[in-house]
């Protein structure tokens, strides 16, 4: 690990984060762009769920995370508070690992 790598990574990561926030800022964008941006959370959070549940690196895997996340879906549908959904997801996954599912 070199300082050059640490600092260039820091610069690149910050550049990504800051671009949208500062360059576009609070300016209003064309209506079509606004409509598309409003769908970013739906598209990207769903993608994150799939990635975090069903993959390790570039491999698709089914392991103890799946029952945990399915239990979280049930909890969310029952309108459980967010913290409960998180604890249920982690708890069921931990239990699944205890019983040997991995």
């Amino acid at each position: 690990m070199t300082w050059a790598l640490v600092l260039s990574l820091a610069g690149a990561a910050y550049a990504f984060k800051v671009t949208g926030l500062v360059v576009v800022g609070g300016r209003s964008l064309p209506a079509v762009v606004e409509r598309c941006l409003s769908l970013v959370p739906a598209a990207l959070i769903s993608a994150l769920i799939v990635k975090d549940t069903l993959s390790t690196g570039d491999e698709l895997v089914i392991d103890a995370r799946l029952p945990g996340v399915l239990a979280a879906v049930v909890a969310a549908r029952l309108r459980a508070p967010l913290i409960v959904v998180i604890v249920v997801g982690a708890g069921v996954t931990a239990l699944a690992r205890v019983v040997g599912l991995d």
Binding site: W3, L5, E34, S46
Partner: protein
């Protein structure tokens, strides 16, 4: 505190604690891969994109070049640009505020913020979640880098804490037909491309789901 804000605080601290355990693992791994304690902590303070940091360390410890560590980590960090665009609609504030906000524009803060229903609660949720994750991530990194022995986050199911939290956070976005369509396409595209694209790209490619917004309602 209003009840929805209490929910955000409770959930942020829970996610933060889970993040902290991963950060301990990162600190341990980074030092084991040959980074100094200062370099390890600088990464968490300055890069603050967990997945990119883990990737960089694992490439370096596997003997990969700095360039390939950089390339992979950058791919993983690129989605934060999309989050920045999204949050620019919701975060007010002057330039200095935005420059600080940028550093905590990540998966968790964006997801938690956009799940809220009013402008004020979105802003608040962003700062509370981003701040909590930042503090826990850096605290955990320091502990891991100094202590050198990690708890296994997977033993507690903590790797499932994030997708579980995201499940709850995506719910408000599924109320509209367009939201459901965007979610379905985003998830399917990501699933289909994970085995074929470099790590980091599937999430970016999932952005095609937003094209449901092109047509006028």
């Amino acid at each position: 505190m209003p009840p929805d804000e209490r929910q955000v605080v409770a959930a942020s601290v829970t996610l933060g604690a889970a993040v902290g355990v991963f950060a301990i693992a990162f600190g341990v791994g980074s030092v084991a891969a040959g980074a100094s304690v200062a370099q390890t902590c600088a990464m968490s303070l300055l890069v603050f994109t967990g997945a990119s940091q883990f990737l960089a360390v694992s490439v370096v410890s596997a003997g990969g070049s700095a360039l390939s560590a950089f390339g992979g980590a950058v791919l993983l960090a690129a989605r934060n640009a999309v989050y920045g665009l999204t949050m620019s609609r919701h975060l007010g504030g002057r330039l200095p505020t935005r420059l600080v906000a940028a550093q905590i524009t990540i998966d968790e803060s964006t997801a938690m913020a956009t799940a809220q229903s009013t402008a004020v609660s979105r802003r608040r949720a962003f700062w509370i979640t981003g701040g909590s994750v930042y503090v826990f991530w850096n605290l955990g990194t320091l502990i891991g880098a100094l202590a050198g022995s990690a708890v296994d986050p997977e033993a507690f199911g903590l790797d499932a804490a994030f997708p579980a939290g995201f499940v709850a956070m995506v719910v408000p976005h599924l109320e509209s037909r367009r939201g459901r369509a965007a979610a379905l396409v985003g998830a399917s595209v990501c699933l289909a491309t994970i085995p074929v694209l470099p790590v980091g790209l599937p999430i970016l490619v999932a952005s095609v789901g937003v094209l449901f917004g092109v047509r006028r309602p």
